[in-house]
């Protein structure tokens, strides 16, 4: 037997041998300084969040003083962070319920599909009154509404990701967990979360990008003929655009780029490097991602302190969660009784569903007449054409580029961070400039909105194709070279089939994102110019602004039906085909 005695194995997680003491103490200082700075910021920001509402009610605008930008940026980041945490907890609970309970899954997963297709304004118009009454006389109500809005733009894809990870856990690890008789709590933290960690982390990043995109809508809440403005970088941009201050928007863009870079450096880079240990591979990974922040944290003693501090808490929780039971302890009941239970369950669900639909139709008929529904569907068709064109164009452009980037580690190393920042950057910050351009060149917003939607959602396709192309096995690429396949043959027989599955994933996300983005892309304004494209997005936006709840309901319902129908009829068959024919996993 060959012993590959590995020094790293003894030293622990670090990539190198233990650092000298001076370096470790220096790292300690940096880590402590970082923790203090973080705590100080929180302490500075928190009191202002719960400020009482002034005599004039909730402000409908914010200051466009550039000096306020750093503070606004921090407020926005805090909002995003809270929403992200809530999304994470929501994903855990919802994903577990859907994956573990067969019957709950039957409802929760289609419901998630629908929730994902409901645009952020749909949630806002319904929930703002609720939040305002929950925290009367305090800005916390508006803050909560804003965080909820951001949450609704972040949570769904994370939940899907966690659910899929739960469903695709390695079989033998599940069996090991059952055989070791882990408690449900232990299984969650030793198998479920670590296994889901990497995809979940990527989805967190995507969610945050999505959250940025809707930041203006969530900080400058325009519902029921009222506008509630919260201090934040999104509302700053909206205000500047309304006042026509180009300088302010420019500064906001600079601030936003800095925020995106800082988050990448302080949060995503360390997390992705750390999450490498959750990668299930048989051998040590070839390309190790590194992060300066993580290295400093690892060099310091902080993990020892934290370990000493948190271990008793962890043990206590471990004991407290024992009553939740042992994993795999219950066997499915007698099949006949199970079928009977399913039948009862299905009947109840269908009755409730039918009752809901009937009630909705009655309401619509009473308020606007059913003709409005047909009109909304026609508008939905217009938006559908835009989305379809967008997916085709983005695919034609980004699939070849993404495949090349993914297959060339050199370009990939260099391009990946740039693309990440570009993707994280909220595209609607530059909408005012684009609007101006449309006005100046007399570009019809009906076409222009496609570009606006694409600015936000093209990245999903690019990201996924890069990931897919980088996973093409070396064997196959060497085979292609060895067979002297021509360039066209190589693309046709190897590269395009290999990235097909990833393209599907990217395409479904991008399409969903584009539908949602239509609410901010089909209506754009800069100072006195407001360009409105005909479409379901602008329909929902105007209905929300005027507080026409029935039309909001119609718009949201139509968009939901269209998105779910397209997913079911187009994307899901494609994904099944991808899994059946073009999966690279053996």
């Amino acid at each position: 037997m060959t012993f590959t005695f590995n020094r790293r194995a003894i030293a622990g997680e670090g990539d190198t041998r233990p650092a000298p003491l001076t370096t470790r103490i220096l790292s300690d200082c940096l880590v402590v300084a970082g923790i203090l700075a973080f705590g100080g910021l929180i302490a500075y920001l928190l009191p202002t969040i719960a400020a009482p509402i002034g005599p004039h009610g909730v402000p409908s605008g914010v200051s466009t003083d550039v000096a306020q930008l750093p503070y606004y940026a921090m407020r926005s980041v805090l909002r995003m962070a809270v929403a992200l945490l809530v999304s994470l907890v929501f994903s855990f609970i919802y994903g577990l319920a859907a994956a573990r309970s067969r019957r709950a899954g039957k409802i929760l997963i289609p419901l998630l599909d629908i929730l994902q297709s409901v645009p952020i304004l749909g949630f806002l118009s319904i929930s703002v009154p609720f939040w305002l009454t929950l925290f009367p006389g305090s800005m916390l109500g508006v803050e909560a509404a804003s965080i909820f809005a951001i949450f609704t733009s972040q949570a769904w894809n994370m939940t899907f990701s966690f659910y899929h990870s739960l469903r695709s856990e390695p079989k033998e690890l599940v069996e090991a967990a059952k055989n070791l008789r882990l408690t449900s709590w232990q299984r969650f933290w030793t198998l479920d979360v670590p296994n889901a960690c990497i995809p979940l982390l990527w989805n967190c990043m995507m969610s945050v990008s999505g959250g940025w995109f809707f930041l203006t809508a969530s900080e400058m809440i325009s519902v029921n003929n009222r506008t509630y403005a919260l201090p934040g970088i999104g509302s700053f941009v909206a205000q500047s655009a309304a006042e026509g201050r180009f300088g302010g928007i420019g500064w906001a863009i600079v601030a936003m780029v800095l925020v995106v870079l800082a988050i990448d450096f302080l949060l995503w880079k360390p997390l992705t490097a750390w999450a490498e240990k959750f990668r299930i591979t048989q051998n040590a990974s070839s390309a190790v991602s590194t992060s300066l922040v993580l290295t400093i944290i690892r060099q310091s003693h902080v993990d020892e302190w934290l370990g000493r501090l948190l271990r008793p808490i962890g043990d206590l929780l471990d004991r407290m969660m024992r009553p939740f039971g042992v994993t795999g302890a219950s066997r499915p009941a007698d099949p006949r009784r199970r079928r009977a239970g399913d039948l009862v369950f299905n009947v109840i669900v269908w009755i409730l569903l039918a009752a809901g639909v009937v009630y909705m139709l009655v309401t619509i008929r009473h308020d606007t007449g059913l003709g409005e529904l047909a009109y909304a569907f026609a508008l939905g068709g217009l938006t559908f054409l835009r989305v379809a064109l967008l997916i085709v164009l983005c695919s034609l452009i980004w699939v070849p580029i993404g495949a090349v980037i993914g297959m060339t580690p050199k370009i990939s190393r260099f391009a990946q961070p740039i693309i990440q920042v570009l993707a994280s950057f909220p595209a609607n910050f530059i909408f005012p400039f684009v609007t101006l351009w449309f006005v100046a060149w007399h570009i019809d917003i009906g076409w222009g909105s496609i570009l606006l939607m694409a600015l936000g959602t093209q990245w999903y396709i690019l990201f996924n194709v890069i990931a897919g192309a980088s996973q093409i096995p070396d064997d196959l690429r060497e085979m292609a070279a060895n067979m002297h396949l021509s360039r066209w043959m190589r693309w046709k027989t190897l590269i395009l089939p290999a990235v097909f599955s990833s393209w599907c994933t990217g395409g479904i996300t991008a399409a969903g994102g584009a539908w949602n983005a239509s609410i901010v892309s089909e209506v754009v304004s800069y100072r006195s110019h407001t360009l409105t494209a005909q479409g379901i997005g602008s329909y929902i936006t105007s209905a929300t602004a005027t507080g026409d709840m029935t039309r909001v309901l119609i718009g949201v319902a139509v968009m939901g039906v269209l998105v779910v129908a397209i997913n079911r009829l187009f994307w899901e068959p494609l994904q099944r085909l991808a899994n059946r024919r073009y999966a690279l996993t053996v």
Partner: protein, 469 residues
């Protein structure tokens, strides 16, 4: 590469000097050959399947395998008990398992399997790929519910994971994100053992399996053999009644696998070993003979019991001893003799063997390879819950079959190929008369090479297959 050509067991055998585990051997004084002959019993509804290899010298090199099959129940020394037997750890009764495919058709994986696991024995479940070995192991471990039948642990029917079983996986199944020590401690943590108590236990187990110094390494930093050591340590710390091993060495290279086998046997030999029995699933015949006190052979499609065979060879077992070789050969014959698609692997082996020995392995009578499922005459031999006795082939218990005169087995099997029932002939050409024309090389419909030695029943000591499939 063939294991047997390598002198592997010399590496560790020096430790294994005494013979242990005599509790399962019914006749301790006897030599293996005698033992096996003795326990060959006459059973009701016997189908004797025989084969003779006609070589230059028809009398000496003649080989035959006698397999007595009965639909009755158990008869080995430790197999007589029922569920009330205090030494019975796990008892499985009439296990059926079928899966429903996406298209709605039911796929039967196991059919009417009954099996008891007792204290102080190592049992090997032997079978080729697709015989449902691993599924059966998982049913016994309570990880997969059976479609019909019951599994009881210490008399209590299972309704979830078997509390007395620790499983060692073919692919190790270590949590990649936990260190070696955390992986080993995991099962103890699941049982609520406080941190202060489980750490020393885990460290001791890590030491005992030879991983001292690797406590804080991650699995991906270890070689396959070391990973499997972690897997074994993780199981051992739980001190389970039964250690289940699912093809534990088949993902390792030959040398590492042999080393680990010896380590497991060494642990088994220790008085204070903490485990009461080992159940090992394997497709490697030699591994089964080397490790087990009892070999359970499963046939495929669906998985069913085709034979149970005690292995009473003294430990440490010498792979080069004649008795060991006999055992391997017999198991090989059992494995191949009852399935349908054997000739492509074993047929050439028979020929190669013949030339290697300087004997012409030509025609045989018994064509059991194909007849089992096609001929009604032999269908009884595959009856459920069969208990098969091992007969030493050299001992000549079934030599009569070689001549083909009057043995019931030859009658049954040859008739399958003759196409006419009950001819009683054992001549090779006649046996395939129905399907082997003058220009045919392969018996149509049976897949048996015409005029070539039957694959399942090769001459003795010509070639030892180390593994199947």
């Amino acid at each position: 590469m063939n294991d047997t050509t390598m002198n592997l067991n010399d590496m560790n055998d020096t430790h294994d000097t005494d013979t242990t585990n005599t509790t399962t051997a019914p006749q301790d004084g006897a030599t293996p050959t005698e033992k096996t002959r003795d326990i060959m019993t006459t059973t009701n509804r016997t189908v004797q399947q025989t084969a003779g290899i006609t070589a230059d010298n028809q009398t000496d090199n003649r080989t035959s395998a006698g397999i007595h099959t009965s639909a009755g129940s158990t008869a080995t020394a430790h197999d007589a008990g029922n569920g009330a037997d205090p030494t019975t750890i796990i008892s499985a009764q009439h296990i059926d398992k079928h899966f429903t495919s996406d298209t709605g058709t039911a796929l039967s994986v196991l059919h009417d399997l009954s099996f008891d696991l007792h204290e102080d024995e190592i049992v090997a479940i032997l079978g080729r790929s697709g015989a449902g070995k691993s599924t059966f192991l998982r049913i016994l471990a309570g990880l997969v519910p059976p479609s019909a039948g019951t599994v009881a642990y210490r008399g209590t029917p299972l309704s979830g994971p078997n509390p007395g079983v620790a499983l060692v996986f073919q692919t190790f199944a270590l949590m990649p994100w936990l260190t070696v020590q955390d992986n080993v401690e995991l099962g103890l943590a699941a049982r609520g053992v406080p941190r202060g108590q489980r750490t020393p236990v885990a460290l001791a187990a890590i030491d005992s399996i030879g991983l001292d110094g690797f406590e804080s390494a991650y699995p991906k930093e270890l070689s396959g053999g070391m990973r499997q050591r972690v897997g074994i340590a993780r199981a051992l710390v739980l001190r389970p009644d039964a250690l289940f091993m699912d093809e534990p060495f088949s993902a390792l290279d030959v040398l590492t696998a042999e080393n680990l086998r010896q380590e497991v046997l060494k642990l088994w030999k220790e008085k204070n070993r903490g485990i009461k029995s080992i159940l090992i699933v394997t497709h490697n015949i030699e591994e089964a003979v080397q490790m087990a006190d009892r070999v359970v052979v499963l046939g495929p499609h669906p998985g069913h019991l085709i034979a149970q065979m005690p292995v009473n060879l003294p430990r440490p077992r010498d792979k080069h001893s004649a008795a060991f070789g006999d055992m391997v050969d017999t198991l090989y014959a059992i494995l191949t003799g009852k399935s349908n698609t054997e000739q492509e692997t074993a047929g050439p082996a028979g020929v190669a063997a013949g030339t290697a020995e300087g004997t012409a392995a030509t025609a045989t009578t018994a064509t059991t390879a194909t007849s089992a499922s096609t001929s009604p005459a032999t269908s009884t031999s595959t009856s459920a819950a069969a208990e098969t006795r091992f007969a030493d082939t050299k001992a000549g218990a079934a030599q009569s079959g070689a001549k083909g005169s009057g043995a019931s087995g030859s009658e049954a099997t040859s008739s399958a190929h003759a196409g006419t029932a009950g001819t009683g002939t054992t001549d090779a050409a006649a046996a395939h008369a129905g399907c082997c024309g003058p220009d045919e090389t392969v018996c149509r419909g049976h897949g048996v090479p015409c005029g070539v030695a039957d694959p399942g029943l090769r001459p003795h000591w010509t070639m030892k297959p180390s593994s199947m499939g």
